[in-house]
Structures are given as C-alpha cells and as structure tokens.
Symmetry: C2
Subunit: 334 residues, 2 copies
C-alpha cells in the first residue's frame, strides 16, 4: 500500500485522542516491519503518557517478543527499549503524523530512539516547527534513515491545529449535543459513554465556559467524576444575578469566574464552551472549533430554536457506540 | 495485526458501496502477502462488476506486476487472472466479509479462483447460507487452504442484512436529509457530492417512494441524471389528488403508482423512501433501515417539526466531504 494509506491510519488513531493531549499535540504512528507488515498503530493519549512513537515501539516489540515486560513510566520505558529492542525493529518503517521530537522534554527524544532502533524509513505528515522539539528529521537523516515529509500534509496540519493554537496562546472549542432530530433542550441527550468522553475533555481543559441559563436550569457540577479526573475552573458568562450556592461552586481547588464580558481570561489556554443554541450564537465567531454530538433518537418532547446562520467545515467524523460526533471549524472560502 | 483488524478494513471498504450492489451483497476483501503486508483493499461495487475477491486479486497483481493489463469484463478478468497470476499470490491471506461464492453465477466461483492462486489462508466474517452461492469454505478446505470463519461476525452480518432481506423478499430504507441544526424544509440541504450519492442509490433501487407533499412542493424528477443512471419506478403515497403533469410522470420506461395505502407493491425488492418528517412518521415502523444525512450548516430559515419518538441503532457512520451520513436500524432491546 502507498504511504498515504499508513499515514491515514495514523491520523485516524490520533483523532481518537484529540482534545485529550493538552498541552501536547495529538499524534499518531504506524510501524511496519521490513516486509511491509503492520506491527502497531498507536497514538499519544495524554500528557505524561508515552509519545505516539514510543507507544508504537512498545506495542510492536510486545508482538515480536511476547516475553518482554515493559515498565509503565515513559522515561523508564524509553530506557528499557534502548536496552532490550534486540534490533527487532531494524529496517522497519515509521509513519508519523508529526515529525518525531528532537529534544529531551518530559520524555527523551523520539528521533534519537528511532536512530537507535536502526529504522530504515520515516514518513512524516507535517514538520514540527516549534523551536523546542523541531529538527527531528535532520537527526534521522544524519543517521542514514530515509525521511519523507509532507504525506497527507493538510490532514496532519488540521490534526495539529489545537496544539499550534496553544503555542500561540489559546485553543477554544464549542461543544453542542443534539438529539438525532436536532433538538437539544435540557433532558438527557447522549449516552453514558459519550458523557464519559466529555469528562475526559473536561479533565484535559483548564477552563469550562457556560452561560447563566445553563447554571440556572441544569445546575451542573462540571467535574470529571466519571473518570476520576480534575474539576477545571469555570467561567460563567451572564448579565443576570446567579446563585452562588449552585453545586459547581462547592468544589475544592476550583476557581469560578462570573462575568458579563465574553472575553476569555488570558491565563487559560485550552477552553471548552459547553452550551446550547443561545450560547452558540453568542460564541460562534469567538471559538476555533466546534464539537457536535448527535445522539440516536428522535423525541416528541424535544425543543429546537436555532435561528442563525453558521457554515462549518467538517474536520473529523467519529462515533461512540450509538452517538455520532464530529469536529468542525468555521467554513471560510479558500 | 490480528485478523479482526484486516476484516474491519474489509468491512469499511464494503460499506462505501452499501445500497449500490443490489441484487448482490456488499462485500469487502483485504489481501495480505505471505509476509503479512497488505496488497489490496477492495469491495464489490455494483452488480455486473467484479466480486470483491476478484477485484482485490486484480489490484494486488497490478501492484506486484505493473506490466499486466487487465480486461474490464469480470468473466474475461477471471480467465485472464487464471492464466497470468504467475503464482504471485501464493501463500497470501484473504480476509473477506462473506464466504467466497462456490458457484458459477454471472461470474465464475471466487472459491475456485482462490484455490487456483494457492492462497494459504482465508479469513471469513460470515458464512454464505444461500443455497446457490454457499459452500465456498468447503471447497477451500479441500484444496488445503486454512479457513477461519466468524471474525467480526456481527458486523459482517449487519453489512449483509439488506442482501438477506432481498433474498427473503424485500429491503426498504428511509432516506432523510437534515441540516446540521436538524432542520429539513424544502431548501437545498446537502452538497452536490451527496446528491450524486443519492442518484447512485436511486440507480440501484427498483422503487422510490415519496409522499404527495413532496410531489406538490419539490416537483422532483427522481431520476439518476447526475450519474447517467436509470429512473426507477415511483410510488406516491397520498390521500389527495395530485398533478399528473408533474415532471416525474414524463419519464420513459417508468411506472408511477399513486395509492392511498402504505403497502409496498410485492414486485419491488429494493426500495428507498425519500421524504421529510411527515413521511418518516408514517413509515418509521415499516422500513428496515434509515439513512440519515446531516449537512454542514445551521440556517436561520430552517424549519423543524418532528414530534414523535424513534430510537435507532447506529450501524455505520460515514461522510461525503462536509456532509455526514449514517445507516441506522430500529433500536430493539437485545
């Protein structure tokens, strides 16, 4: 199969963790052996976890030598692999959505790891232009590894966009959940599995934004209890008086900001706005991306009152059991 | 990678042609070489075209021997491959969503083809229990090929469901197109690419069903002009008088049935109902599947008036450029 096929597999794997990797980028990796057989399909899952390449190497080695027992900690894993890879990945090909990092960050350099494994070829979706991590492909080339850059570049750049915006200052997205018929009043809409995914997103955010209406009607806690995650700070945008005894105020180590203005406070870099159509209308020109869920049922009790225009570009289409969701951004003529 | 991975690739490829293969089943096929590298990912695209296995063999051989020039006609292709395969697929593995056919139908037996190629292993999603085509795995086993049956069986059975219903008498599905906000009045909703897909569906159907309201408001032609396809017969379900000069009546070789009853005439086996919420409410308990499109925009001119309950099970989630679509069936407690 052609390079585009394997990079696409890596892109799809990475998208499963989009929104969950902050402050790191969502990255995917596919490793094929010297004969072209797929050994692993992996992704970076969360900050503090292994990079996509390291995770992929672990999964590939586990397949090639089932006797190996790998340490959990990424630094220990990296060191363990350097000592135990037995040249099992010699002449393999790596397909990565983003250039392997050249630097020692929280974990050691992935480019150095690939050099040590005597990889034959590295196919890269898009370059890492950050000063800190960039330059990985130069390292690889110096080690005699064939490097191809720019396969499915546009898709890889879109996958990377939240990370690039964090680097520049802030990424924000609006999450909207609708029934299959487009209604989205206050009843339960999506399934327990989708709500668990939302809790993972909250756990990775540093700020959740809601409107006063949501506070008054839903009385949400806005924590990540379904995954034992953190309770991010909350910004309530409202012109009216609100009830300071609402449940979300009673959370330790959480800051709650109540303001009339729609401006995001500067100190927050990864922001999720959770709301319905009223809030969407207010924020639609202020957010970078949109995350739209459609559940699996029509309801005769549903309400719908969207009355504005909004053209979106589909970036990624996915699902969780019976719920479908998709990442969008504003549609702009190219 | 495990068998499930390759069968999933075959399933996904087959779904691209769901609804287009009548009266044949939608089938997908992945071929890996003796080392496990993927050679091709193919599907049966349309009745009269090559079966998924034959198409996959063609694509794999084209890769292994770029000098080969293949005939278009499936029967000639089959004969050509038998003479020119040069044992290039010896010891390969085939992953097929449905048991390879054992019979000489419009095209020769795929099981015989795989035997002639000296395939090592065939992994099958679900058995073909039709009397005419079944028994392929016995042929393979007799030729010394390792056969595994039942990988991702449930997914493969769902993929096959329209075919099984045709065999029993009839498959019908309801197509509904909504904007991203759930509105679905008479303006343009989905893109030109999605409309082209709809024309492919029409070309494969033998009956399109609409309501009287659609005839009066949209005045549709209900042909397949975007792909130079056929104009299937039309059933108009209405209690009111209709305009017999409407465009859809002026099509050669088309029968138009106007009736008060909601019963599908017996002679039609592959039926698409095209309509909005009123017709959906009427037909929701009479159709097998649902095909629901969501376009990429919110509109302040949109209208929505769904007022019934309908719980669906997501079968397959997909997209065409900026439009998303999904196949559903009625949700029933297992």
């Amino acid at each position: 199969m052609v390079d585009e096929f394997y990079i696409s597999l890596a892109i799809n794997e990475a998208w499963k963790y989009q929104g969950l990797t902050y402050p790191n980028p969502a990255v995917g990796c596919v490793i094929t052996d010297k004969n072209g057989a797929i050994l692993s399909i992996s992704a970076h899952k969360k900050a503090g976890f292994a990079h996509a390449e390291l995770e992929g190497v672990k999964e590939a080695l586990a397949k090639l030598n089932p006797l190996l027992t790998f340490p959990q900690n990424p630094n220990e894993l990296h060191a363990f692999i350097l000592q135990n890879h037995q040249n099992l990945l010699k002449d393999s090909t790596f397909y990565v959505t983003l250039e392997p990092c050249s630097h020692q960050g929280l974990t050691p350099s992935c480019a150095d790891l690939l050099c040590a494994l005597h990889v034959r070829r590295v196919v890269i979706g898009t370059k890492d232009d950050t000063e800190r991590a960039g330059g990985g492909s130069e390292k690889l080339k110096k080690a005699g590894i064939e490097v191809v850059i720019g396969i499915c570049r546009q898709e890889c750049e879109e996958l990377l966009e939240p990370f690039l915006l964090w680097q520049k200052g802030r990424f924000s997205f609006f999450k909207l959940a609708m029934r299959l018929d487009g209604t989205y009043d206050d009843g339960i809409i999506t399934s327990a599995d989708s709500r668990e995914f939302t809790h993972k997103l909250r756990d990775a955010c540093d700020l959740i934004v809601i409107g006063g209406e949501t506070l008054r009607i839903d009385k949400p806690v806005l924590d990540s209890r379904l995954i034992n995650g953190k309770s991010p700070d909350v910004l309530i945008c409202t012109k009216k008086e609100i009830d300071k005894n609402a449940p979300l105020f009673n959370i330790k180590n959480r800051k709650v900001i109540v303001q009339n203005s729609l401006d995001f406070p500067k100190e927050y870099k990864n922001i999720m706005i959770e709301g319905g159509s009223t809030l969407l209308q207010v924020f639609k020109d202020r957010v970078d991306w949109f995350l739209i869920f459609h559940s699996n049922f029509f309801s005769n009790k549903g309400k719908q009152n969207i009355n504005f225009d909004l053209n979106l570009k589909l970036i990624h289409n996915s699902y969780i059991k019976n719920d479908r969701f998709a990442w969008y951004k504003k549609y702009t003529l190219q």
